[in-house]
């Protein structure tokens, strides 16, 4: 098949789910009931075991009542869970046919963020047939991964093609009873990514590049599962710096990582969900459960995140250090401006022997933003020689924002060692003046200082995204000073 034919075929496939079909059958009615679950399951052509799994989750959710967790330092109006569409066919809205039809403000942002030209169209949702180059690149990568036995596909495809793998690991790190939103997600998840790296294989490319080009339509209830078999390695990047709008306000994703003996998983997130307008109206609620299990000896999992978007962010990427000598890491930059709120952090649970964890969290607050780091370091009674080092720093810009740190340190083994430090500071007038006296504008000066503040975290990102992330920080803090 020629490249042109490939593209045509794909373009047709898209429109199959588009505005051609009947609206009614593509939307489950609002609200959550057993029928909704069955509808979703049928639409996705789930095997029966998955339908039962969803129903178990749903029944558990019913026992929780309408009781969302309230201990986070977050204020939002109560969510009416019966007022939400739990299933909507993808691509049911009209897409722009070329970059000319895209909101110029959005294009300006892509420019500022330094996003390559050919990717801007994909990100803006321009119809597939105009993005010729990207498709061929994606095809090459798919071939390479296939040769190594690396599985990288959508969750729906994985359920069909690799059910034994999915069944083995789904819900093994985040059980359906874990927390309110994880339970909800387990019942109604739409799609997500599935990655499996076989024994001894080092995934040859950042799964970021591949992901970006495909720019899959991210749903409200995404479910991702990544499994690295013994000695395997993978670096995965989720999200992108480009601002994303979505008519669905609530996002409750679940990400599970499993690292077997000697394996390593690096998971990086750069997220810029729509944060709401300057008065805090609209904006996405991002309530995510992310957890990695270092099952095997000497396994490693690291979470790196740059969160600048969403009206409300609630996420605690965590690592369970089960295997002896396993290592967990968490690096985070969270920015809140205007009326954004973030309550984010991590949980490191030390269970095996000689485990270690490192937590570096940088919170930046501006406008009337509220930023909270909430972390748990727990050393279980059998965790001999566990080590943790935590550093939480808050940078406050202006008098009306808040930067908070709430760490929980629970040690049940005397050989454990925990060191925790937290500081709060502001961008001093002296630092700003120094930069300006050397010719830098206030905007560039703030950007420089903020990037210096976040340096340790930005260094952990895959290189191409580190550069974009730096620019993203500048863009998010526009107007915060002066």
């Amino acid at each position: 098949m020629t490249a042109l034919e490939t593209v045509r075929k794909l373009a047709e496939a898209d429109y199959k789910y588009g505005f051609v079909s009947d609206i009614e059958s593509d939307f489950a009615p609002k609200g959550l009931s057993e029928d909704t679950i069955r509808f979703i399951s049928a639409k996705k052509e789930d095997p029966d075991w998955l339908l039962q799994w969803r129903l178990n989750a749903f029944r558990h959710w019913q026992t929780l009542g309408n009781h969302e967790p309230t201990w986070a330092h977050i204020k939002h109006p109560p969510i009416d869970f019966q007022d939400i569409y739990y299933y909507a066919a993808p691509k049911s809205k009209a897409t722009p046919k070329s970059l000319d039809e895209v909101d110029p403000e959005l294009l300006r942002t892509y420019e500022k963020l330094g996003i390559p030209l050919q990717e801007r169209a994909a990100l803006a949702g321009v119809a597939v047939d105009a993005v010729f180059d990207s498709i061929s690149v994606a095809t090459t990568y798919k071939k390479k991964l296939g040769e190594l036995g690396v599985i990288f596909c959508s969750m729906s495809e994985a359920v069909r093609e690799h059910p034994e793998l999915v069944r083995k690991y789904l819900g093994s790190v985040v059980p359906i009873t874990d927390n309110f939103y994880a339970t909800l997600n387990s019942a109604v998840f739409s799609d997500g990514s599935f990655v499996y790296i076989p024994k001894g294989v080092r995934c040859p490319m950042e799964l970021s590049t591949y992901f970006r080009i495909n720019a899959a339509e991210t749903g409200q209830f995404e479910r991702t599962l990544i499994v690295a078999d013994e000695g395997a390695y993978v670096s995965y990047l989720e999200g992108c710096t480009a601002p994303k709008r979505d008519e669905n306000q609530l996002h409750a994703a679940v990400v599970e990582l499993v690292a077997l003996e000697g394996a390593e998983i690096k998971y990086a997130t750069v997220q810029n969900w729509y944060p709401g307008d300057a008065n805090g109206k609209g904006g996405i609620y991002n309530f995510v459960t992310k957890r990695g299990a270092c099952r095997g000896k000497r396994s490693r999992i690291s979470w790196t995140q740059v969160e600048t978007g969403s009206a409300i962010t609630w996420k605690y990427p965590s690592v369970i250090l089960e295997g002896d000598d396993s290592v967990g890491e968490f690096y985070s930059v969270a920015v809140v401006n205007n009326f954004q709120q973030a309550d984010t952090g991590t949980k490191m649970i030390h269970m095996g022997k000689n485990t270690s964890s490192t937590i570096i969290s940088k919170g930046i607050s501006a406008g009337r933003g509220q930023n909270t780091y909430r972390g748990l370091v727990r050393m279980q009674p059998k965790a001999e020689n566990a080590r943790n080092y935590t550093q939480c720093d808050s940078l406050l810009i202006g008098e009306r924002c808040g930067g908070h740190t709430v760490p929980y340190i629970e040690v049940r083994n005397r050989t454990g060692r925990v060191e925790h430090e937290a500081t709060t500071s502001k961008i001093s007038d002296d630092q700003l003046f120094y930069c300006r006296s050397r010719g830098l504008s206030t905007e560039d000066s703030v950007s420089l200082i903020v990037n210096g503040f976040c340096k340790e975290v930005l260094q952990k990102l895959p290189m191409e995204f580190a550069v974009e992330a730096q620019k993203l920080l500048g863009v998010s803090l526009e107007g915060a000073v002066g």
Binding site: F433, T442, L448, G452
Partner: protein, 246 residues
């Protein structure tokens, strides 16, 4: 180049500069000496545009332009450089990153082509060699962990890189030992040029042995009370400020 007319300025409501007038032609190095509290640092900060200093009267013309009306970064890009007495630290920002951004901001303003990383490093390293400073300083975070002397040398390094038209050195000699002083002075002297002027603010005469000024002014009680040639500095050394301020 620089024309200050009857400048009056206050800090926290307290008048410090009480009618200071001074004129520096292009290509000349002028020194200002004075006792503590006379307003030397205030003058430096007012010229650089720091907040917290209220100008209550007078005028400053830089190459014919109203300097006081310009924002600090605009003054910098127009070619004004202040070597701080107490340079601030900025963690996480490597020296090189900071300076490349500053150099290119000025170049943009002047309509010149910006330097890429390689060209910048070449220039920077050449200057470091001249100042007998280690290349390693480029990677270090801006002034973090630098000794007083290292910070001062870093300021002169910046000056050499940014090629200002008016350089104001605020007590550059404080905290330096003889060897460091000599090296810093050599760096400053190497930058003397017909299109460049310098205002050297110092408490002690010693620096002026190395950076020989074209004129010396005495600042006392917020105004210039005496001006003269380089011999005036030696006279001050001998008889102190009291004799002159009276």
């Amino acid at each position: 180049m620089l024309e200050i007319r009857d400048l009056q300025a206050e800090v926290n409501g307290k008048p410090i500069l009480k009618g200071l007038s001074l004129s520096i032609p292009a290509g000349q190095v002028h020194a200002i000496m004075g006792p503590n509290g006379s307003g030397k640092s205030t003058l430096a900060h007012v010229l650089a545009g720091k907040e917290g200093y209220a100008v209550t009267g007078g005028q400053v013309l830089f190459e014919g332009r109203d300097l006081l009306a310009m924002a600090p970064e605009a003054r910098a890009r127009a070619g004004v450089f202040l070597a701080f007495q107490y340079p601030v630290e900025i963690p996480g920002v490597p020296n090189a990153t900071f300076l490349k951004a500053a150099v290119n901001a000025a170049k943009r303003e002047r309509g010149e082509t910006e330097l890429d990383a390689i060209e910048f490093l070449k220039r920077a390293k050449a200057i470091l060699r001249m100042l007998k400073m280690d290349d390693a300083v480029l990677a270090r975070a801006l002034n973090v962990g630098f000794s007083g002397g290292e910070k001062k040398r870093n300021e002169v390094f910046q000056m050499a890189l940014l090629e200002p038209r008016l350089a104001i050195l605020d007590e550059t000699d404080s905290g330096l030992d003889i060897d460091a002083l000599r090296i810093v002075a050599e760096g400053v002297n190497a930058l003397r040029a017909p299109e460049r002027s310098m205002l050297v603010i110092t408490h002690y005469q010693r620096l002026l042995d190395y950076i020989v000024p074209d004129a010396v002014h005495v600042l006392a009680g917020g105004r210039i009370v005496k001006s003269g040639g380089k011999e005036l500095a030696l006279e001050l050394e001998r008889s102190g400020y009291a004799g002159i301020a009276a």
